[in-house]
């Protein structure tokens, strides 16, 4: 991304320290992750040490330091989904894509994310593919879903 965009985002948030997470999240929207170059720019513009920014990027789960896959597969592991068997579905996805939670497939197509709750417990277990919710999942349904995703990718 252009560093001028980073500057704009920092300015929109008026360089306020309480908006730092929002600033990093807004920047991350462009490339899906925070590159070293981008973090250096934020550090200069905000006058915050780079080490602190790096500390934040590793502490907060919504911030990524590595490039993400083209498609995102998110599984909800909230308590309600867990008691309805989301763990088994996660294993199925990991097995199918050969990737760990938080990781990206070797071909760069899919990133697997696990979130703590999506707040749509009535339709759990839930698997979200690129923002689209798929409710009442089980191991068999998720495999069909993944086969479809692979075909489209």
């Amino acid at each position: 991304m252009e560093l001028s965009v980073v500057d704009e985002i920092v300015d929109v948030h008026k360089r306020k320290s309480w908006a730092l997470i929002s600033i990093l999240q807004d920047i991350q929207k462009y490339d899906g992750y925070l590159s070293q170059e981008v973090l250096r720019r934020v550090s200069e513009r905000m006058e915050i040490p780079l080490t602190r920014l790096y500390g934040m990027a590793t502490f907060y789960k919504t911030l990524n330091l590595t490039p993400q896959g083209k498609h995102n597969i998110t599984i909800c592991s909230g308590t309600a989904c867990h008691v309805r068997g989301s763990d088994r579905i996660l294993k199925e996805i990991m097995n199918f894509l050969n990737v760990e939670p938080g990781g990206t497939t070797e071909d760069g197509e899919f990133t697997l994310s696990v979130v703590n709750c999506l707040g749509a417990c009535a339709i759990g277990p839930i698997v979200v593919v690129d923002g689209k919710y798929n409710g009442k999942m089980n191991a068999s349904k998720v495999k069909n879903l993944l086969v479809k995703c692979r075909r489209k990718a």
Binding site: K16, S17, W18, A19, L20, I21, S22, L24, Q25, I48, R52, G55, M56, F59, Y60, K61, T62, L63, S77, G78, T79, A80, C81, H82, V83, R84, G85, D87, R88, K91, E92, N95, V115, N116, C117, L118, G119, A120, C121, A122, I123, G124, I126, Y133, G135, N138, A139, S140, K143
Partner: protein, 617 residues
């Protein structure tokens, strides 16, 4: 939007909104809460709007795209007023008949009504058993307002409580009123709100901050999200009253990043309130000034803890600090006195001011007043958000409102309090919803997650779920929490995988004792609760895993095998077709068989078998 210069201006605006709305003969409210939104209520809204416009009905019928109605299980929902007809599980193709038959011709469409367990169709929302036993103080208004339109809130009496405070109450009187109401913090710990406000008001210094905590990290809980998303002005009004009482000029709403509609709607609400002069300098010409900004969280559970949240707002990693000797009300954000309350706590404030502490304190038990919103989820028929008066029993919530388990089997336990809480077994379900009673039973009120568990829930696996969650979320600052959770996770994993030894349970108990005693913040201190409570009530399950290498609930894959009962199997082939691992063989109309070497124990066969022929041992 014209800036309001006085309380009289606001009253005039309210009158004009009420007058303007008189042209509508009916309103239809479509639920846009998190549950309904996930299953397409946004599409319903756009189609409805288009259809009403095309038919020239939009000046007679008002469409409100509201926040959560609560009954997520039956979503997407719509309620037609003034009659109060409830339609469930709506699809886009239902819109045309709803407009033609119900909105124009006043006919009821049977197929869209809620059907109770005896097959009776129920027409009105108020008669549905799910709503009947509730006391919907905070949630009710949510059905009447579009959260992105300030006029809806003002037209329904919004900001009246704030005006009452501005014109006739001294800050100390507001604090006394809140103290008298008995309101306790809804974030989990239940600290008396009025006492907290008083401490912050009395703290030295001119600059004071107030913070609304919407970093709702409890998995399986979405009450705060629904409130802020569905009725943001109610929260803003609560904060305005708090700011006036405490003497603060600046506030923050800290919202989980994963709740985009919550921070978007709160942001819109703040902009609208500023444009009308309900936030900012010299509000309504009173001389009182107060402003609110929104800060997004970064996805860290520990930031729900007050000192960690403060660190996060300061632009740092969200690590808590010791608050035994220095409270945030004395030294919080940028070392200034800071008053933090949870979303639901703030939302209660306008009701207390409007109706008086006497009225409010009549609801509930001796030491827990008002209502509490729970997110009732898990193995329960009626998943949703329920608002109940304090003092109601857990049994009433899970059976009368929740309808019991989906398959009608017995509820094994109810878990409350999120990862810091505990499990309450069926035999104790008659205890009332009360901060102290729940703590006595080994759980806690928490922020409002209520997870129903049935015989298919393994309590050891369930305890490990929370321990693993907390292990991942521990900030790592203090040793007891950081190391203790790792070791607990290892021991529980051993037990689950059949490698538990005689000393495993003793070691868990010892670790629990140390962590409770020696951790720095609430996360570590309460982390062992899931183990302690399951060991207290379900120790036999632990023993089965350790001694007999069996998982009685049939969950822990290392300890179970799936088989097909040849006598009950009809050979329909559903299991074979749905097995993702091709681990089932058999020909049609003859009993099938599971190939153990290929079986990954995913349970898909058991879920699809209509004859109960798949057994787990």
């Amino acid at each position: 939007m014209k800036r309001l210069e006085s309380i009289g201006d606001l009253d005039k605006l309210r009158e004009s909104i009420i007058e303007k709305n008189k042209c509508y003969q009916k309103t239809i409210t479509i639920c846009g809460g998190p549950g309904c939104h996930a299953i397409g209520s946004e599409d319903l809204r756009t189609s409805f709007e288009r259809e009403l416009n095309e038919r020239g009905l939009s000046d007679k019928i008002r469409l409100i795209f509201s926040g959560c109605h609560g009954f997520c299980e039956q979503g997407p929902l719509a309620v037609i007023r003034p009659s109060g007809i409830l339609y469930c599980k709506l699809k886009v193709e239902d819109i045309e008949p709803i407009i033609t038959e119900t909105l124009v011709d006043d006919k009821i469409i049977d197929s869209l009504l809620y059907e109770d367990e005896n097959g009776n169709k129920i027409v009105y929302e108020k008669d549905v058993p799910f709503y009947k036993s509730q006391k919907r103080l905070l949630m009710e208004q949510q059905e009447l307002v579009n959260p992105t339109i300030i006029d809806d809130y003002i037209g329904n009496g919004g900001y009246e409580a704030f005006c009452k405070v501005l014109t006739g109450m001294k800050p100390e009187e507001v604090i006394t009123e809140i103290k008298n109401s008995g309101l306790r913090g809804r974030g989990g710990a239940g600290f008396p709100t009025g006492v907290k406000w008083e401490s912050c008001r009395n703290a030295s210094g001119n600059i004071k901050y107030i913070v609304c905590n919407c970093d709702e990290g409890d998995p399986g809980a979405y009450m705060d999200r629904s409130l802020l998303e569905g009725n943001p002005h109610l929260v803003l009004e609560g904060m305005l009253i708090g700011a006036y009482a405490i003497g603060s000029q600046e506030g923050f709403i800290y919202v989980r990043h994963e709740y985009p509609r919550a921070w978007e709607n709160a942001g819109i609400a703040i902009e609208q309130a500023k444009a009308l002069g309900l936030l900012g300098e010299n509000i309504l010409g009173s001389g009182f000034s107060f402003d609110i900004d929104i800060a997004r969280g970064g996805g860290a559970f520990v930031c729900g803890e007050s000192t960690a949240l403060v660190a996060s707002l300061e632009g740092k990693a969200g690590e808590p600090r010791d608050k035994q000797h220095l409270h945030t009300v004395d030294s919080g954000l940028w070392e200034k006195p800071t008053n933090l309350n949870n979303v639901e706590t703030w939302a209660n404030v306008p009701f207390i001011i409007n109706n008086g502490s006497g009225w409010y304190s009549q609801i509930g038990t001796a030491k827990s007043k008002g209502t509490k919103i729970f997110s009732l989820v898990g193995k329960v028929k009626n998943t949703g958000l329920v608002e109940v008066p304090m003092g109601i029993s857990l049994r009433e919530i899970v059976y009368d409102i929740g309808g019991g388990t989906p398959d009608g089997t017995e509820i094994k336990a109810v878990q409350t309090g999120g990862p810091s809480g505990g499990c309450i077994p069926n035999r104790l379900l008659d205890i009332p919803i009360d901060f102290d009673e729940l703590t006595k039973a080994g759980s806690m009120m928490g922020s409002g997650g209520m997870i129903v568990l049935d015989k298919h829930t393994c309590m050891v696996d369930f305890a490990r779920y929370f321990i693993k969650f907390l292990k991942d979320e521990s900030c790592g600052k203090c040793m007891p929490c950081r190391e203790g959770l790792k070791r607990m996770d290892e021991i529980l994993t051993d037990i689950i995988e059949g490698n538990g030894t005689n000393g495993s349970i003793d070691l868990l108990e010892e670790l629990a004792f140390v962590m409770k005693d020696a951790s720095l913040c609430g996360l570590g201190k309460t982390a062992p609760n899931s183990i302690v409570s399951t060991l207290e009530y379900f120790r036999d399950e632990y023993i089965s895993h350790v001694r007999d290498k069996k998982c009685p609930a049939g969950v822990c894959t290392a300890l179970i095998t799936y088989t097909i009962n040849a006598e009950t199997c009809t050979g329909c082939g559903a299991c074979k077709k749905n097995c993702p691992h091709d681990a089932i063989e058999g020909v049609r109309k003859e009993p099938h068989r599971i190939i153990d070497d290929l079986c990954k124990k995913c349970g898909a066969c058991m879920e699809v078998c209509k004859f109960g022929a798949v057994e787990v041992n």
